[in-house]
Point group: C2
């Protein structure tokens, strides 16, 4: 191929590749989450990456409409790539009422696509791990969703068992509480209510002073652009500010504060009953006050939420924002069906979670899944190496035979194994073959011993570190023991 015809090897803007180290860590995290989802009685489903445009349009609001990757099907229909896993779930429920009678709870792990402005940690393709439960209107189901998320984060190592301290905090609120509060303050116009929610949603980002301004006459942001205000009178603004300030106590205390500080109404009574059931269910599920707090300031942007909403922050890594969120959406399925199916669910964004786990030092995956590399020496028939690999693989030991350039020296092969983090090398020269022996090199010990070595002589001596010669018949057993010892040290 001439230079002219050559294609530039390049990942698309806003997309990323996963090389082995990243991918192994990612797969372990996904497998852990999957295990927790299954333990809570969620079953897996999958749906195509592409959907009819009409299925997706208008479900997530104006912004997601703009972010669709759109194209035409071979039949000329407008189609698009899914932007989340919730809309496909709503479609499934409506399309297979016979096969999927409710109550039905599923999990779904897969890539979603948004033609968003990419930035650090923001990609146009990202993987979501969703759980949703359909057909239950009790907020006990919401409590289950919140409990699953806590358990998943706990299983990922975000919980100090010795002090019972979680490194995550789930904020929970209810749209009904919001409605009751705003109506009590005289804010009854739906469009104004939505505007107020959007402003409150920004609290953690912009601070209370800016929220006050945006609830009133508006303000100028850091880039000098004007932000239109809601135009509420000062006394109403103060009520809203006091309301979103009801935080910091136990779940029961927050309910009490809401009950004493908001004006009584039928809406409020219903909303508080809902919160009490939610609190009781969380207690029954063993979800502690340190893990889940009621937070009247939590608004969440999406339009379709109708009941409890939840978001999760890692106090040790607040810069990553919410790593998991969700809520109840009792109306979404009726987009496809002549009746509503009450549903609730949550989503973990794996890419953001991985970034946060990495920042917190919680990713301890090995760089490779390979345990042994069998080196290739001059004068040794490759078939001999393959036969040794077979013995090791039959014992469940992940083994690679170096089958690169015949000219690669032993040191180059060892460097490659070291770079990749492979813990054991097996060396078979003609002498060993004649003797019925093999040399096994503990590369972890070798790496440790080489650290801090400054002299060339010492370095060369360490080159043989951790190398033993054993009868070939004992190889698999010896390597199994060595790997176990490396893991425990």
């Amino acid at each position: 191929m001439t230079k002219k015809d050559r294609a530039q090897p390049e990942t698309l803007k806003g997309f990323r590749d996963y090389l082995p180290g990243d991918m192994i860590a990612r797969q372990r995290v996904i497998d852990t989450i999957r295990g927790v989802y299954e333990r809570f009685g969620f079953v897996p489903v999958d749906t195509p990456v592409l959907e009819h445009e009409a299925t997706l349009l208008g479900t997530g609001g104006e912004e997601t409409n703009k972010q669709l990757f759109r194209m035409e099907s071979p039949e000329g229909e407008p189609i698009a790539m899914r932007f989340d896993l919730t809309v496909p779930f709503a479609r499934l429920l409506a399309q297979y009422p016979e096969q999927l009678p409710v109550p039905f709870r599923r999990y779904h792990i897969g890539p979603v696509f948004r033609a968003d402005k990419p930035g650090p940690g923001r990609y146009r393709q990202f993987t979501q791990c969703d759980i949703d439960a359909a057909g239950g209107s009790s907020v006990a189901v919401d409590a289950e969703i919140v409990a699953v998320m806590c358990e998943a984060l706990r299983a990922l190592g975000l919980f100090d068992e010795s002090t019972s301290t979680p490194e995550y905090r789930v904020h929970v609120n209810s749209r009904r509480v919001m409605d009751a509060a705003l109506s009590g303050f005289g804010i009854t116009e739906p469009a104004v209510q939505k505007h107020v929610l959007r402003v409150i949603d920004k609290l953690s980002k912009v601070g209370i002073a800016n929220v006050r301004l945006e609830l009133g006459k508006g303000r100028i942001d850091e880039s000098g652009d004007p932000i239109k205000g809601v135009g509420l009178p000062p006394e109403v603004i103060e009520k809203v500010v006091a309301f979103v300030g009801i935080t910091g106590g136990t779940r029961a205390e927050v309910i009490d504060s809401l009950s004493t500080r908001l004006s009584p109404s039928e809406l409020l009574t219903e909303a508080l009953t809902e919160l009490r059931v939610l609190a009781s269910a969380l207690n029954a599920l063993g979800v502690s006050e340190k893990e889940v707090v009621f937070d009247p300031s939590l608004a969440r942007g999406l339009d379709y939420y109708t009941g409890p909403v939840y978001e999760t922050v890692l106090p040790g890594a607040p810069e990553f924002g919410s790593i998991m969120g969700g809520g109840r959406y009792d109306g979404l399925v009726s987009r496809f069906l002549d009746r509503p199916i009450p549903s609730t669910g949550a989503s973990i964004g794996i890419d953001r979670l991985m970034a946060a786990l990495t920042a917190l030092g919680k990713v301890q995956a090995p760089k490779t899944t390979v345990a042994v590399m069998i080196l290739q020496m001059r004068g040794v028939d490759t078939a001999e190496l393959l036969a040794i690999a077979r013995e090791l693989r039959n014992k469940g030991i992940p083994t690679e035979v170096f089958l690169g350039s015949r000219k690669a020296k032993i040191n180059q092969q060892l460097s490659l194994a070291n770079e990749r983090g492979i813990p054991v090398a097996v060396i078979v020269g003609s002498d060993e073959l004649a003797n019925g022996t093999v040399a096994v090199k503990d590369l972890v010990a070798g790496r440790q011993q080489r650290e801090g070595i400054e002299e060339r002589e010492e370095y060369l001596a360490a080159g043989k570190a951790g190398q033993v010669t054993i009868p070939r018949a004992e190889l698999a057993e010896y390597v199994t023991g060595l790997l176990k010892q490396q893991r425990s040290s």
Copy 2:
């Protein structure tokens, strides 16, 4: 939402959803394959679903060009969905030479997209499980690839251990043998060689008589359309037919036949040496003659193969065609790089494999991952059920609490559990709560006992079958034992 605004819940033509039963079976198969890939020293990578159109165009030939799902990036560049996982692998090798020094072997499992004509078992989105090894020119690497595929199929239950009989057969050939043979017959023009390969490739579908016609003057197919022939003279046709008939013996016998029946040439000597190394490597890897045969008639369509090629058939389900295939492509990476990287690999198409496994009765996955459903009875606080669920989940038992309509009767709840294949139900009424007991119902035993029951009285009696009441403190232990017993019976 009014009827007019409602969207039709519909999967796109050529695409499919995976409901829980299918998905569980599929995940188990993928997990099994992944385990085998890792045991053979392959490490995971992932790449985006979307690529620059220039990355994909022209790599797979005219047909795949036409089948691309194309669109524009937000920046207005032409982009497309990947149609395989091999081209992204070639891109990775060229893009990350520092992080991925060769020899490098990776596996990649993910969806690929082709705007093909859909048909039974043919979808526009399908999942491939690929392994590829780059940087090794020895056909020992090809032997490794073939051995991995055999081991994966064996791990999927396609091997009768008691009689050492595989239910799969891998056909292996080499493009070099083809070249040597055709050149020896005087067919040296590359375009004519390609045409002959395409005709030979159809042998198993159209039969030898039609191959003879297509190598000569052409023929009329079943639909009455003319198929243009290669135009070879009769004596050359007979040579080609004799060549592709060299099958049925052991690998060594096929090599011997080729060596005695083809005219000697430098090309042939090289090709036969390659086959001998391949045979020796397969033997060293313990791959039996029943599993892998040398088959000079195997051509494989794709243009980019340069050495050994392989395809796998299930003799018990030949209608599914090749469920795995691949070969050596030493030139593909130079599409992106100023030097070639010799590479070889193979791909399993999961959708076709699942269809074949199902036809052979090899899919024994449960319908659900849920082990216990806790039923909801009138007068019992949901929090009590959640607390029981928590105890079971803490012991690793996948548990769902029925949180559907409060009006659902116990029988309806039991029907749902039965339909889903959930093996155990836990029933807690107010009596049990007061006593500190729970009722456990063995739904598997119940289903077995109800089979063949005709009388209403018998049916009702069987309704209580397998139901016991035990102290609540013993629940998790009892259920664990029951599940174990169900699995073993």
